[in-house]
């Protein structure tokens, strides 16, 4: 049972007109893992996330989640099955309060009676207690990222896709954020797949990294393997990043 990957993406292709944004990409994520997905800008990471979470319909290929073929499922059904995500460009419910936003997610698994408990719990975990009554419109980027994470957590996912959730955070903030994800991973057994450009986070968090370039998977392996992979350095990391790491 545990041997079977929780998420299996097989040969997924997504095109926009002539542009092949994702090209026969395959990827497996095991239960309990934190997997990083990196690649140059425009490599197709967000597009792949969209194809997995049901927002886009891939032209080819299949997506399995918990052993079920969820290709072409609608997003809400995929969420019901236990997968949720955040967005690269934050998509808050502008005029709703933090609490209500989280509540929308919480209704996924909870009914009117116990939804409030879940909301309270998630808000506490994500450290949103101070701003729970604030309207999302007034929040800064960092808070919005937390709210997005919170509402996704409220759906009680078994797996979470995070799209550049750490972008725009400085080193210290990033460390706190990474601690939260690690805690969720260990205590709540949530599997993560994260897209990130901040190497500090990718390297420090992920057990395994998959590299996407021009829609194709070009490498996969442990952080160490990846940071020494010539092709990855050439396409993505650049010499300086490697240099900085080696220091």
């Amino acid at each position: 049972m545990d041997a079977e990957p929780i998420l299996k993406v097989a040969d997924v292709t997504k095109k926009f007109g002539n542009l092949v944004a994702v090209n026969r990409a395959s990827l497996e994520v095991n239960r309990g893992e934190i997997v990083g997905l990196i690649g140059p800008n425009g490599a197709g990471k967000t597009t792949l996330f969209n194809a997995i979470s049901g927002l886009y319909r891939p032209e080819e290929g299949t997506v399995f989640f918990k052993g079920m073929n969820i290709t072409n499922w609608l997003p809400h059904k995929i969420c019901k099955l236990g997968m949720s995500r955040t967005f690269q460009v934050t998509r808050a419910f502008t005029h709703m309060t933090v609490e209500d936003t989280v509540r929308v997610g919480a209704y996924n698994r909870f009914n009117e009676k116990n939804v409030q408990d879940k909301v309270d719990q998630v808000i506490k975990v994500c450290e949103l207690v101070d701003i729970r009554k604030r309207v999302c419109e007034d929040l800064g980027l960092a808070s919005l990222r937390k709210v997005e994470l919170a509402r996704a957590l409220a759906t009680e996912p078994e797996m979470l896709l995070l799209d550049e959730a750490g972008a725009g955070l400085n080193a210290t903030e990033l460390a706190t954020f990474m601690d939260l994800i690690k805690k969720l991973n260990q205590e709540s057994q949530i599997t993560f797949c994260v897209v990130e450009h901040v190497m500090q986070m990718v390297m420090g968090l992920c057990q395994r990294i998959v590299v996407l370039d021009s829609g194709e998977i070009i490498a996969a392996g442990t952080p160490n393997e990846i940071s020494n992979n010539a092709r990855v350095i050439e396409a993505y990391l650049g010499k300086r990043a490697v240099h900085a790491r080696n220091q």
Partner: protein, 341 residues
């Protein structure tokens, strides 16, 4: 429901309003004109409150109220004229027929994620389409009005010579619609709809089925419009394709917007203020310079929309808050007085 929570200033205000509405006709022995006016106001209040579910909460700017209203009216009217079926039954069937049409239209529209303005325009087109169809369908519609017979019992044919019964029927429906609004607003559906109005994709990945949520909202809205359509036909005593009126649909949406989108009582409040205000204008300026009263009405509408873009409900809300703090301070002050004495 928590009793203490229930008796907050807002609910007390609402209860007070309903209470006044209940007794006004009796206390003031209102004449027929006043009764008709208040009935009309209630009619718009109901429609605008129903619109609030699809427009205010789900953020779908629906302009098809008159399509559903007209369909309800024609169903009720035809059933009465042809088979002598009482409008009490007719308006329920009318509501269901309206819902059926709404589902037929809404299923693909929501399925294909037609949104915002485009949804508004297609729903507005629906009204025109219905009017054309009923204009050509001579058996049921056609250009000549179909008169609703009064029959032997006004209660059976819902054809009163006096507006009092209509008024109370409308009042009951309004209260029900407001309760439905409230119930939806603080339920799973309501939160989903509110979020849907903001960002659809983001809601879907949280496990909300956007199509079915919107369809639910549309169904409730169109059903209410259809039912009200049945009463509408009864009040005016005939059915005619002119019931499919694009500007009436627009007006209902405007009331919803001006009232304060997403506020439960906002649209009803706007209907009460704006509709009666317009009638006062019509009655006082209407005969002086043709069109003047509408110009005044339009200017007021523009000014309200420009300076109160979130609607008049937030204004009331602020008032309530002020009153609340005032009362709190008052009681506190009194306590202090008691202590000091």
């Amino acid at each position: 429901m928590n009793v203490k929570k229930f008796f907050n200033p807002r609910n007390i205000l609402i209860l007070f309003g309903v209470g006044i509405a209940l007794v006004i006709p009796l206390i003031f022995k209102a004449g027929q004109y006043t009764m008709l006016l208040m009935t009309t106001v209630l009619l718009y209040a109901i429609l605008a409150s129903a619109w609030n579910i699809i427009g205010g909460m789900a953020g779908q700017l629906d302009l098809a109220a008159a399509a559903y209203l007209g369909l309800g009216a024609f169903t009720t009217g035809t059933l009465l004229i042809r088979w002598n079926i009482t409008p009490w039954v007719g308006m329920i069937i009318g509501g269901l027929v309206a819902t059926l049409l709404a589902m037929l239209i809404g299923f693909p529209l929501f399925g294909f994620k037609v949104k915002e303005l485009w949804y508004a325009l297609s729903s507005s087109a629906l009204v025109v389409v219905m009017q054309s169809l009923f204009m050509m369908w001579n058996e049921v519609g056609g250009p000549t009005e179909k008169y609703l017979p009064v029959g032997t019992s006004p209660w059976y044919s819902l054809r009163f010579n006096d507006y009092m019964p209509y008024y109370y029927i409308m009042l009951i429906i309004l209260v029900v619609v407001l309760l439905v609004n409230r119930w939806i607003r603080y339920s799973k559906l309501g939160y989903s709809l509110l979020a849907l109005g903001e960002d659809e994709d983001a809601v879907e990945v949280l496990g909300v089925n956007s199509q079915s949520s919107k369809l639910k909202a549309l169904a409730i809205y169109s059903f209410i419009c259809g039912v009200v359509g049945g009463i509408f036909a009864s009040i005016y005593g005939y059915v005619h394709p002119a019931f499919f009126d694009t500007s009436m649909s627009m007006e209902i949406a405007i009331l919803g917007i001006v009232g304060g989108m997403g506020f439960i009582y906002g649209p009803a409040l706007a209907a009460i203020v704006m509709v009666s205000f317009r009638e006062v204008l019509r009655a006082s300026l209407g005969s002086q310079l043709a069109g003047l009263y509408l110009a005044v009405y339009a200017i007021i509408l523009i000014v309200v929309a420009l300076y109160q873009p979130r609607g008049i409900a937030p204004l009331v809300e602020r008032g309530i808050k002020k009153a609340q703090t005032y009362f709190v301070e008052l009681t506190r002050g009194r306590r202090a007085d008691i202590k000091s004495s």
